[in-house]
Symmetry: C2
Subunit: 331 residues, 2 copies
DNA sequence: AAGATTAATGCAAACGGTTGCAGCAGTGTC
DNA sequence: GACACTGCTGCAACCGTTTGCATTAATCTT
């Protein structure tokens, strides 16, 4: 149905190779000829067939983007950033959702590998070993996980966690709970390590947990009965769930317990109390990741992996407040 | 680098066509041969090249999914539903975000058209005319817009709006504001028409508006100074923004104004007051749309367009309450 | 036992582009 | 005027699969 390069060639009285060059290497063809070809192409509504082009060039001009949960607002912003940026480079981004399942994650990478030039792997749940192996199939950029020898986009979440805990400490909190994220998460580990390294506090770690509202909700009782006054959650979704659960149990936030989230999603700005959180530059991460990936794709085997670290920053709202000493269990 | 069909053929001592058939029409090849081929393929890590296959079959086994805003939770659930369902049919879904821009929407469809077998167009902002034209390029299923002669997935949002307004009326509200959605939106029109048809109320329509939190926030003053006691918003994002704005102006919700949203996103469950809303079955819509599209793709030209209508239902929470008569401007 | 049927496989031409190489005209150089 | 060079275009092979058709051997009919 659709016009092919041959139709255009015939219509403009040149060879197919000239038409091809008109699009892929315009400087090689005479201005006059080029215009004639372009006119004919326009006329016939010709658009190059990407599949055919991919066959000879080995470049699909597609990128894969794998996230744990497309419904998590953090990821949607990352996706937006990646897609918009890729479009300016004449690339398309294929998004896939693993539903937090490492198995699905592995399968998706395998399938995507053949139809894209590179993959953006965000917050992987797979083991390093498996990722290393998969890398032979397709170039990677890994977001939110430090992996030697690969291109990485990281958020400085350790420093964010330190800042968050520092904030709690400055409000007088000493007994602090950390709600960890899912098992395979590098970010979760990073946060935990940073929190553990803060001196002078008494840290209780809960987890691993599902990084969702439900995950947070499910922890409300445990947190309420643990002897803590401050909480840092793996992400905003969990923090919001936790606040909801605590409120339902009659535990006031921030009256009896202060809660800090991570990500800065919209829901955190509209939930009550408004959530104190560590903002993550999700959109910038998406853009940066695309840049690094295209760099990798362009360079082929010889590529040097790059590392980008993006700053985070604490946003103080209403879910954190000073410790109420009279309410402490021990005097 | 990667193993091709030829490598497998050589390794198993058969012709390439036999290898091809082993995968695409297994019943045509002898069991013994097939096993030999499969073993060799496994051994070499062979996976068929989709681009090459697409070239001869004309089927890419990819679907396009176009949404106005991937960060809108309503769409993310729709996407999740579509992707998961497509995977079970050995299809992949390409998601693209138009940023609410009809121009971008048109371009995206054009570009996608060549690399997918069909497109899921969700809540289009384009005019019917343009969509009709674009349909010649690629099969469509349109979600959230009634279009004759095309496959449609609709939510019964008119009935949802009626129910929402009925709820407000039953609480004593008579002067009601409707916050419309973006200009090209069929859903917005549908809601407006339904609301206008409700007898015995005094309806003020604001809009068109940007269907985001900011859109709602921007309307707070106008709503506060309009003489209304109840509001129905085009979606939850706007409703949440409005509530935020009203609260900031000292207008109590639901004390002085009751607010109803549409969609049932998570943020509505955690914002305070919890949002009364009309739930939309987003995930089911995604699944259904994929079904209809594959039906269309399979049937080719002869396909009969189908229409699926999904039910909505009102969820009553805390952002709506009885009219306080003593506060009304006129006695 | 000859002919018809069936199952399994091979052959080769597509699909729609890209690209190294060759050819050719025009220009500049000595 | 021979030569090299440059700019443009055509030629044809190739990318990895699919698929209609031909071929072959084995099985079935009568």
């Amino acid at each position: 149905m659709a016009a092919t390069i041959r139709d255009v060639a015939q219509a403009s009285g040149v060879h197919v190779s000239t038409v091809s060059r008109t699009f892929s290497a315009p400087h090689l063809v005479n201005t006059e000829t080029r215009n004639r070809v372009l006119a004919a192409a326009e006329d016939l509504g010709y658009r190059p067939n990407r599949a055919a082009r991919a066959l000879t060039t080995g470049r699909t001009h597609n990128l894969g983007l794998i996230v744990a949960d497309i419904a998590n607002p953090f990821f949607s912003h990352l996706i937006k950033g990646a897609q918009a940026h890729a479009r300016t480079r004449d690339y398309h981004v294929f998004v896939a959702d693993t539903d937090e399942d490492p198995q699905v994650e592995e399968e998706l990478i395998q399938t995507l590998a053949k139809q894209v030039d590179g993959v953006l792997l965000c917050s992987p749940r797979l083991s390093n070993r498996v990722i290393e192996k998969l890398r032979e199939d397709v170039p990677f950029v890994v977001v939110n996980r430090r992996m030697k020898g690969m291109s990485n986009v990281l958020m400085d979440v350790g420093s964010g966690a330190r800042e968050a805990i520092g904030h709690l400490v400055s409000l007088g909190h000493r007994r602090i709970a950390l709600l960890a994220g899912p098992a395979g998460s590098w970010t979760s580990r990073e946060i935990t390590d940073a929190a553990r390294a803060v001196p002078g506090i008494d840290l209780t770690v809960f987890g691993p947990n599902s990084p969702t509202e439900h995950g947070g909700l499910a922890l409300a009782e445990a947190v309420a009965s643990a002897d803590v006054t401050g909480v840092l959650a793996y992400n905003d979704l969990m923090a919001i769930g936790l606040v909801e659960g605590l409120t339902a149990l009659g535990v006031e936030v921030p009256g009896r317990v202060s809660v800090v989230g991570i990500d800065d999603i919209v829901a955190g700005r509209v939930s009550r109390p408004k959530l104190t959180t560590v903002a993550m530059p999700a959109e910038a991460a998406g853009r940066t990741a695309v840049d690094l990936l295209l760099q990798l794709v362009g360079a082929g085997e010889t590529a040097t992996p790059a590392l980008a670290t993006l700053a985070t920053n604490l946003i103080i709202r209403d879910s954190t407040g000073p410790v109420r000493h009279e309410l402490r269990a021990d005097p």
